[in-house]
């Protein structure tokens, strides 16, 4: 394996999904020479997920056509420090993306802003409820909702998000989410058309005194042109979003909302199938000098750069920092160190309603077609005496009736055989689900580090995930799941089947691809990897993007906050860092 030195770029982006596209678009517009290195292949709508085959369940759902191959890279998993972690050879609980567009190609499009209190979880909750339990390592982001608001707003306009404001400039706006932070403008597009299931959910939630609102959706309710002049087409409600690319140009993705403009810019270069092996440092360790990457021939290259932005998936960003020995690795025994700290996930549960006579026709769906309530999210309700903080939204989506993947049956039906088949046939068109999207609060015992045993094909240690649900998670889900059940029971079906989240975290059944933390942001270099501008505390010319920045995960899908943080950070690079390169925050 030879190592060749290449000529330099102003900025090298490691990974080319949502955040890579955002940084690249803004930095090239500011005149910088930008190179993006993407481990996976080039992907485009008409060639790689055209309408003629985009809905191939065997290829995309069962055979994981959109995802990182575990043969290329995977991680090891254990529930706690007493166990020996084993490699994940087939994805289950989460599905890391690969290739141009990253997970932004195969996401559902549920595009919530986090609540203002989600950015100040420690200070807000301690002020209201007193000191948090020992071992709960939640922290503030260092950036506030108000500071991020213009960037949420811009990301929503880039994506053409469809929704209804609940709080416009501090004024409550009927029909939206009354708990959301103040918005500077209405959503660029109206909500999607709801179906029978959402109508029943809305009525039931209102009967319970809750405040239902349409889920903010990146599946288009109408044709739209974004601020870059790029067009999106109306969604056809085919229901193939999560795990699939959209062949109809109806789902916001880097491909539909940024790339056609970016790829035309002469100061932008993309190299696909180029996997970054490590971030390189200057001899004195004060700066990064570039990255080393390997191509498909096995040749490796040193790519010099004035600045590096880590835009890979959170798990890979953490691993690259550990492999490159940037920042102090987190030590769960001492609680010291930062890289790999505060790995968080999501606590999912729900209830399925089976109707007797009414058809829900779940095949008419979309990834973010839903109604939700936020009455039990964040600190929207009084947690006094409950023994946990945080919450989650409760939503009724119609998105998932893909026939190979989805076959809900009531309690008491066998798991296979003719009775099972008969039950599927009887219920397939008559079910609705109510899901709880629970927050995941950081705990000292949940973290990421390098595996001592297993390596990848380059002999680099795999990432090791040590994770289990915490007492906060269990109390949270035990409190919220009955609310979801109550809503479900009010929807008028024949019966309701409740899926509680009990027992240890299981990495096999799919839950969400919302892996957060590991490269967290904060106010103190002793407890965070990045400062409030997503800049490494250790190396001022290294920036980090993505949900790895979240000190803990909120009760929402992460993409809007990931997008807002990227726009916030790149704005600071252009307006503060470039005129005066150096640390943007003095510790």
């Amino acid at each position: 394996m030879t190592r060749k030195k290449l000529s330099g770029f102003d900025v090298v982006l490691v990974g080319f999904g949502w955040t890579g596209a955002i940084y690249a678009e803004k930095l090239t517009a500011a005149g910088l020479e930008v190179l993006a290195l993407e481990r996976g292949p080039w992907r485009d709508t008409s060639k790689d997920f055209a309408t003629t085959f985009a809905q191939d369940e065997l290829r995309y759902y069962w055979r994981h056509g959109m995802f990182q191959e575990t043969a290329q890279s995977t991680l090891t998993f254990r529930n706690n420090g007493a166990e020996t972690a084993l490699p994940m050879r087939h994805w289950g609980s989460f599905l890391p993306g690969n290739g141009v567009g990253g997970s932004g190609v195969h996401w559902n499009g549920q595009t919530y802003r986090f609540l203002p209190s989600d950015f100040v979880v420690r200070s807000h909750n301690e002020e209201r409820y007193g000191p948090l339990p020992d071992g709960m390592t939640v922290q503030d982001y260092g950036v506030t909702y108000d500071e991020l608001e213009p960037h949420f707003d811009y990301f929503e306009k880039i994506c053409g998000i469809c929704g209804k404001a609940g709080n416009l400039n501090g004024q409550t706006s009927p029909g939206g989410n009354p708990f959301e932070g103040a918005r500077s403008s209405e959503y660029p597009n109206p909500p999607m058309q709801m179906t029978f299931s959402q109508d029943r959910f809305e009525a039931s939630a209102r009967d319970l005194g809750l405040n239902p609102f349409p889920v903010p959706s990146a599946n288009m309710s109408r044709a739209y042109v974004n601020p870059l002049g790029l067009q999106l087409a109306p969604c056809t409600y085919c229901g193939f979003c999560e795990k699939y690319g959209c062949g109809n140009y109806s789902k916001s993705s880097p491909q539909t909302t940024i790339l056609p403009v970016l790829m035309e810019r002469p100061n932008f270069t993309l190299r696909t199938e180029s996997e970054v092996l490590s971030i390189e440092k200057s001899p004195d360790g004060s700066r990064v000098t570039g990255v080393t990457y390997v191509d498909t021939s096995g040749d490796s290259f040193f790519q010099p750069a004035e600045m590096v932005v880590m835009c890979a998936y959170p798990l890979e960003n953490t691993r690259l920092m550990l492999l490159s020995q940037i920042g102090t690795p987190y030590n769960p025994q001492t609680g010291k160190g930062v890289v790999g700290k505060n790995y968080c996930y999501q606590v999912m549960s729900g209830a399925t309603v089976f109707f007797e006579d009414e058809f829900t026709n779940g095949f008419v769906g979309a990834g973010a077609l839903g109604m939700a309530v936020d009455d039990y999210n964040g600190d929207n309700f009084d947690h006094s005496g409950l023994g946990f903080i945080g919450g989650g939204y409760i939503a009724c989506y119609t998105t998932n009736a893909r026939p190979i993947e989805s076959h809900p049956v009531p309690d008491g039906v066998p798991e296979w055989g003719s009775a099972w088949k008969q039950s599927i046939a009887a219920n397939f068109l008559k079910t609705a689900t109510v899901g709880v999207h629970g927050a995941s609060m950081a705990h000292r015992s949940n973290y990421l580090d390098l595996d001592p045993t297993y390596t990848d094909r380059h002999n680099r240690p795999l990432l090791r995930m040590t994770y289990d649900f915490t007492q906060n998670d269990r109390r949270l889900t035990n409190h919220l799941t009955p609310v979801a059940e109550d809503i479900a029971r009010g929807m008028g079906g024949r019966e309701v089947k409740v899926s509680e989240r009990t027992g240890a975290y299981d990495s096999v059944p799919y839950q969400t691809t919302h892996n957060t933390g590991g490269t967290i942001m904060g106010t103190d270099p002793q407890t965070s990897v990045c400062n409030r501008f997503c800049q490494s505390w250790d190396m001022p010319n290294l920036f980090v993007a993505g949900a790895g920045l979240f000190p803990q995960n909120a009760g929402y899908n992460p993409t809007a906050t990931v997008g807002a943080l990227a726009y916030w950070s790149v704005d600071a690079i252009i307006n503060q860092y470039l005129p005066d390169p150096g640390p943007l925050v003095q510790p």
């Binding site: 008409s46 309408t51 003629t52 067009q231 056809t236 140009y249 056609p260 035309e264």
Partner: protein, 410 residues
């Protein structure tokens, strides 16, 4: 620096032979006017080897004609392979009469039957612009014509039959905009090169003016905008948007026309595009031949195929998504007398061209692997038999012919 010196030298040489009155026109404004006319003439499209990422205007692009393959000339001021030793006079003769600097007849793939409408001032301006480009040394490949077409004298016979050397004469009964539009359409834009039907010798047929023509198995549709015309349902704004933005609510330019919009018309002034629209909208047409409704069984088959394969983008009722996915019920491609373009797009897919104003690149995927000849024929017969105007059904053998053509790496 070297480039500046060359340009100055060329300028000086030209000055010494030119009449004093022209000296002023070597200035910025003449080059700028030349650039505009070069853009209008879409010279770059044919004179750049786009398929092989050739340098702009350096020629060498292969163009398939019914008579053989012809390669375009190098228009850069390279002394040996380009126009470096040409005079303005030579250039005027080429555009005005179809004769090169050595007196040889040019093949009429070069649209001098259109360019002849331009004045000497126009061609001088284009020449001044081309001479300002960086010289590129690039030999033109030999044309691949069978005997006797490989003898250039055969072109002189063609010209005697079909070519008239005349400048544009305005029609005093029409508005300035109409006259400007007609000059652009028939002159530099040379719309008729594709959109007017050709006789067996490749010359435009007067009766077929802007009623559509076949080129490389694309049917360039009827673009007469008056009563009964192919774009009678487009208004002037639609035409301007289409040529400026590369989108209208009716359709988007793709493939060859996409190239025209991206390299040529999007760079034109809106008043010129509006003049083009004014002129096209004045062209009435005769009532097209009418066909009976297709029978119920075929309609059912076609409509089922449509619903499964097309409705997702083009909408269940064929109304499309204006500006994104073309409405099919009023499409002048679907309902064209010659269904080649529709067949070709279904088989091979098509990609909209990005423009400065609309950078999106929506594409339709190919269905060749998914639909049989008979299915495509049924689908098209259904579409052509519905909507406000009915066109003749399509047969499976017509689809098979285009499939065969495409399989030969076109």
């Amino acid at each position: 620096m070297i480039r500046t010196i060359i340009i100055t030298a060329v300028g000086a040489a030209a000055l010494s032979f030119a009449a004093p009155a022209q000296a002023q026109e070597l200035a910025y404004s003449q080059v700028e006017r030349g650039r505009y006319l070069t853009s209008a003439g879409d010279c770059k499209a044919c004179h750049t080897d786009i398929e092989n990422h050739g340098q702009p205007f350096a020629g060498g692009r292969a163009m398939a004609t019914p008579f053989g393959t012809i390669y375009s000339a190098n228009l850069t001021p390279d002394a040996e392979t380009g126009l470096g030793r040409w005079s303005r006079e030579d250039f005027y003769n080429a555009l005005n009469e179809g004769i090169d600097d050595e007196g040889r007849h040019l093949y009429p793939a070069m649209p001098y039957p259109n360019f002849t409408l331009m004045t000497r001032d126009d061609t001088d301006a284009i020449f001044a612009y081309l001479q300002s480009l960086e010289p590129v040394h690039k030999e033109k490949p030999e044309n691949e014509f069978p005997f006797p077409l490989n003898i250039r004298m055969s072109v002189s016979g063609w010209k005697m039959l079909f070519f008239e050397d005349e400048e544009f004469r305005p029609d005093p009964d029409q508005s300035d905009a109409w006259n400007r539009g007609r000059f652009l359409v028939d002159g530099p834009l040379h719309c008729g090169a594709c959109h007017t039907g050709k006789n067996l010798l490749g010359a435009s047929v007067d009766d077929e003016y802007m009623r559509g023509g076949l080129l490389e198995n694309w049917f360039a549709p009827n673009i007469r905008g008056g009563e009964n015309g192919g774009i009678a349902h487009w208004d002037e704004d639609d035409i301007v948007e289409y040529l400026k933005d590369g989108r209208s609510k009716h359709t988007a330019p793709m493939q060859r026309m996409g190239e025209v919009v991206s390299l040529s018309t999007q760079n034109l002034r809106t008043d010129d595009l509006r003049a083009v629209a004014t002129y096209l909208k004045s062209l009435d047409d005769q009532l097209p031949e009418t066909f009976d409704k297709i029978d119920a069984a075929l309609a059912e088959m076609g409509s089922a195929l449509y619903f499964d394969n097309c409705a997702g983008c083009h909408a269940a009722d064929g109304s499309g998504v204006p500006y994104v996915f073309a409405p099919l019920t009023t499409s002048n491609k679907v309902h064209a007398e010659d269904p080649s373009t529709a067949i070709r797009i279904i088989l091979g897919g098509a990609r909209a061209e990005p423009t400065d104003n609309v950078p999106s690149i929506p594409a339709m995927p190919p269905f060749a692997w998914k639909l049989s000849d008979a299915q495509i024929a049924d689908l098209l017969s259904y579409l052509r038999g519905s909507g406000p105007r009915h066109a003749a059904p399509v047969s499976a053998s017509e689809v098979a012919e285009v499939r065969e053509y495409l399989s030969e790496e076109h």
